[in-house]
């Protein structure tokens, strides 16, 4: 675990948007591959003990990735990602929707936007071994989908409740 790497997670409930920024200790092309190649995505996207399998992927605008998250008891939760915009090693956008095993999507889904940028080499990082920053924006037409997304991940997860006062303060400031 790299605790010194930037991790920012904010939710704008009113805009139904989640903003995630994370820095990785790897060069841009490698991080780009990790987010765009199914064989790598399947290795890190499913939070353990979930696993993932990709039935097919066609990484081009209009192309799709059809994959499933598999729970330890063998339950498959299928989803389709359709790539709507790709600027190599800079940005890609996709539309993600749950689906049945026959590829029928359940709408509405969510819109994802990924932006990649190589961070300047720092004194403690030799040149050419910089870090890569990834900013992800996820827009959910219905944030209640989160309930479903989270269903499979709740077991064993330590929940930390923010207190109501914080929430209300945030809400009333908006």
């Amino acid at each position: 675990m790299n605790n010194d790497l930037l991790f920012d997670f904010t939710v704008d409930k009113a805009a139904k948007t989640v903003y995630i920024t994370r820095e990785f200790d790897a060069e841009l092309s490698l991080v780009w591959d990790a987010f765009t190649k199914a064989e790598l995505l399947d290795q890190w996207l499913p939070p353990k003990p979930m696993t993932a399998k990709t039935k097919y992927q066609d990484f081009k605008v209009g192309g799709k990735r059809f994959y499933a998250m598999v729970s330890p008891d063998g339950q498959e939760r299928w989803a389709i990602q359709e790539y709507t915009s790709i600027t190599p090693k800079t940005n890609f956008k996709m539309y993600n929707a749950f689906a049945d095993k026959d590829e029928n999507p359940e709408l509405p889904g969510s819109e994802w936007d990924h932006t990649f940028s190589e961070q300047n080499a720092r004194p403690d990082k030799p040149l050419g071994r910089g870090t890569t920053k990834v900013s992800i924006t996820i827009y959910n037409e219905s944030l209640q989908r989160l309930e479903r997304i989270l269903d499979g991940f709740t077991i064993g997860m330590k929940m930390s409740l923010n207190n109501l006062e914080n929430l209300l303060t945030t809400l009333s400031q908006k």
């Binding site: 409930k13 200790d25 939070p47 353990k48």
Partner: protein, 106 residues
Amino acid sequence: MRRDIFQAIADPTRRAIIALIALQAMTPNAIAENFNTTRQAVSKHLRILTECELVKQEQQGREIYYSLEIEKMKEIDKWLSQYRKMWETRFNQLDNVLSTIKKRKK
């Protein structure tokens, strides 16, 4: 029909109503006094909030008082903090994948 909680709090007036009744239970009239809208508009917002189970009604004498369902509000934060946790887990896994690939390349 089950309404979407996030749809409920997407509206600024409804967020203001939530903030108001979080402090104390209030009647629709008392709530409406705080807004530049009609009593009907406030009633509609209250109906949506009630359908989302974010507020509850209580009859006291001839008046109906609205108050906040605190547990329901906590639920929202609970989902979000779990969602955040899920991403932390994912990214830690990605750190491992990246470092494995880097070692292999050497």
